[in-house]
């Protein structure tokens, strides 16, 4: 913890242009290209190997294949999709059978594989972004406009909680803490939000506000514990947050079946439903699931960006994250900052949790109500390069994968678990840019900056 050596390549040291590139990395390709283009010539000017006066287009192409954040992110996606395709093929006995006579009729194996993989990924896309059939159906009047927006609505529904947990992990990361406890904080958040949602008789607007704040409070409490243990006893936050995740989960499973919490009409583990007055309003009518949580998520992203980059606390937080010893010498209270980081991180995770029960995914507590949002949040934060707007885009990608995965499961029979594999693979490749560089023979430009070295010991 008190490792005196400054962590080279910590996110703080990346210049603003890099942040720009990272933010665009996951967005629309055209946009990202045009946005990153202007930053490239400046960065490669000192390069002695560059031609005396290359054309702008030439420079652009050169840099496109250089190992920058955008290219690495995109290629990581490609790699993950390829590995996912291989998994699909080897787990399908029919397709695998065509490979037994591949020398005789190679076209069979190729066609079968292509059909399987392309259909699955097409369904992934149709379930998360845009379904042409629904669009033509809307044009000739066989279905309403809702069906066209349904995939986007699903994507945004899954995105909202991931933004919160991703921000929670990213914020702690910037302060030099690794918050693996977003899961537990979200769990306590979901409990508090649900309890406020069905126990308090309050008027509509106020009820929602109180329920959301209760979720934030729950998360804050669960973040405070590892924070104070870290600050006062030096106990490592990674270990404590892992342990607190499980404590929270067991507490939830115990609480659900208690009198006054459990749904009196049910015998299984499910709580009463949250009152309508405490539910986040749906944005596009009752048929589409997207709810106000996504708006809160954007506001939260803006707030965290402001906190990190514009506020005194954000400065102290980044200073502590970059080098606690230097920060202390400069008069920053490291213990206070550690506690505050964990509390804020917990608040964000708690808000993510309240999204799960006040939004449209569920309205009552069940043992699996929080799903995996805390652990996914870690991946989202890493994919978003621990920058607030990057986290938002990363959460969007993960939300899309989740939404599309549902359709892929029901239409192509490809298990939803493939999405977990894809998500894990993307982050593995992102975390090891040197590997992606080696696979695609990328030029080494700016590679030094891509070193992921968040490394620290217990």
């Amino acid at each position: 913890m008190s490792d005196p050596t400054p962590q080279s390549g910590s996110p703080d040291k990346e210049p603003a242009s890099e942040a720009q590139a990272a933010q665009n990395a996951l967005g629309n390709t055209e946009q990202a290209e045009s946005a990153t283009e202007p930053t490239r010539p400046a960065s490669s000017k000192p390069d002695p190997e560059a031609e005396p006066k290359p054309s702008l287009g030439r420079l652009f192409l050169d840099n496109l294949w250089a190992a920058n954040t955008f290219t690495v992110t995109l290629l990581s996606l490609v790699l993950a999709i390829v590995v996912g395709a291989v998994l699909m093929i080897v787990s399908d006995p029919d397709v695998l059978h065509t490979y037994t006579y591949i020398t005789a009729r190679p076209a069979d194996a190729f066609n079968a594989s292509w059909t399987l993989v392309s259909e699955a990924y097409a369904n992934l896309f149709k379930g998360s972004v845009f379904d042409p059939e629904a669009f033509s159906g809307w044009l000739n009047g066989s279905n309403g406009w809702q069906a066209v927006l349904a995939p986007i609505s699903e994507t945004l529904t899954y995105t909202a909680p991931l933004v919160f947990t991703g921000l929670a992990v990213a914020l702690a990361f910037r302060g030099g803490l690794f918050n693996i406890g977003a899961q537990g904080q979200a769990t306590i958040g979901v409990i508090m939000a649900a309890l406020a949602g069905f126990l308090l008789p309050l008027p509509p607007g106020l009820h929602l506000l109180v329920a959301v704040l209760a979720g934030a409070l729950g998360g804050a409490l669960w973040g405070f514990i590892p924070g104070i243990l870290k600050a006062r006893a030096g106990a490592h936050e990674v270990i404590n947050t892992i342990m607190l995740n499980y404590v929270a989960t067991y507490f939830l499973t115990w609480l659900i079946v208690q009198n006054g919490v459990q749904d009196p009409t049910r015998t299984d583990a499910i709580s009463k439903a949250v009152d309508n007055s405490a539910q986040l309003p749906r944005l596009l009518g009752d048929n589409l699931r997207v709810h106000a949580g996504i708006l809160l998520a954007v506001v939260a992203t803006w707030a965290v960006a402001w906190l990190l980059n514009r506020s005194t606390l954000g400065f102290e937080l980044r200073a502590v994250g970059a080098n606690p010893d230097a920060a202390r010498t400069a008069g920053i209270s490291v213990t206070r900052t550690y506690i505050l980081i964990m509390v804020f991180s917990g608040i964000l995770a708690g808000l993510g949790g309240s999204n799960m029960v006040l939004g449209s995914t569920a309205s009552a507590l069940t043992p699996l109500v929080v799903a995996q949002i805390g652990f996914d949040g870690i991946l989202v934060a890493l994919l978003g390069r621990v920058k607030p707007w990057g986290v938002l885009l990363a959460a969007l990608l993960f939300g899309a994968l989740q939404a599309g995965g549902n359709r892929m499961q029901s239409y192509s029979g490809i298990s939803l678990e493939l999405v977990t594999v894809l998500q894990a693979l993307i982050v593995i490749f992102i975390a090891a840019p040197a590997l992606v560089k080696a696979i695609f023979q990328l030029r080494a430009a700016r590679a030094a900056r891509l070193q992921t070295s968040l490394a620290k010991g217990w």
Binding site: M1, S2, D3, L87, S91, D92, F178, I180, L229, K230, A231, R232, A233, G234, A235, H236, V238, I239, N240, I242, M243, L244, Y246, V247, Y250, F251, T253, W254, P324, D325, R328, S333, V334, T335, Y338, F375, L379, L382, S415, E417, L418, V419, T420, V421, Q423, A424, L425, I428, A431, A432, A434, L435, Q451, T452, S453, L454, A455, K456, G457, W458
Partner: protein
Amino acid sequence: MSTMAVPDVAVAPVDEGFWTRSRKVGLTLLALGLLAAVLFGALATDQQARFTLSDDAAGAALEINGTIGAILFGIIAIAAGAALLAGVPKRWFLPVLAAGLVGFVLSFLCWQVSAAPAGQNFMPLVNIIRGTFILALPLIFGALAGVLCERSGVVNVAIEGQLLMGAFSGALFGSLSGSVWVGLVAAAIGGAFISLLLAVFAIRYLVDQVVMGIVLNLLAVGVTGFLYERLMQTDAEKYNSAPRFSNWEIPLLKDIPVLGPALFRGNIFLYLGLLLVLVIHIGLFRTRWGLRTRSVGEHPTAADTLGVKVLRVRYRNVLLAGVVAGIGGASYTLALYSFTKNMIGGKGFIALAALIFGRWNPTGALLAALFFGFADQLATYLGAINSSIPSQFLAMLPYLATILAVAGLVGRVRAPAADGKPYIKG
């Protein structure tokens, strides 16, 4: 870990006036003992609490009146706490503490057993001990995998993934081949595969080891879950019906009362696990390999100067860890159950807790794993006698104990100095 405390909070020195650590622990124990004697004593009934030395209600038994037992054992805990408070020689600290804790647990058990429904006022010790070991087994393997990895300076959060992959490939290849031994080897290779990823990314590509561990856990959950749904659910007969190791009775040892039936009529994994603890303990502290491993984990630069190949040692240890954890995973699928999705269900993280609670020490990890296994078994037992204690709170025990340990309340724990720090030869 705690020595790496935030430096502006001075690490508590060993001697800090009257309130030494031993006295604080003593005070806590005293309070626990009082709680036990008063509360448990009041709640216990006049029924006889029987602790039978067999699998059921029959057989020889230790018998005591519930109320008297709860109060008596509570007083033992109070006495131990008072002794620590008064100050005992350092080498007596652990035995006295252990006696006090055992007193507390027994007082609790007297209350629970005597308050059980009529006819169930007994606790079958053989059953409890056997269950403890069975439940502790994956924790033992997992924690040993952690010891191997972390002693050489690579943080292993991927224990969960290694266990899961071992369980999966053991089940898959055991079923395909119809041989337990093929399954066992496949399980070891499966665990080593996750380890290989951890090693390559952590050592070669310098990815943060905790991050890598978390991601690998997710990857293992995803890959095994995906293949489970695609293969095992569609054709369980072919892909998920691995043969199982039968129980081996060890001659002579199996006739020892209580311990014999509990321990020496188990399966190969039980013996292998206990043997591995011994082997790794001796290996780590008595052999050249162990010295090198520890030096690489504590001070890689110094080890390198002396000619130890730091990265090679790390690669080897991480892979070995995967083999051990993979076999641990197989202790599920090749002995007890058929594979199900995410069947390890957090045991890998309890193993991590056992590793930390056991202070990165094979024997310590064994004891911690047994303690956690006991808590787990106790939860099952209390559920069976309709206890008023919710099983979820007992299930929390390992995690809470680890938090207390890490916070320095139950002794200081310290990770190997270079744990988690990539080594770049310079």
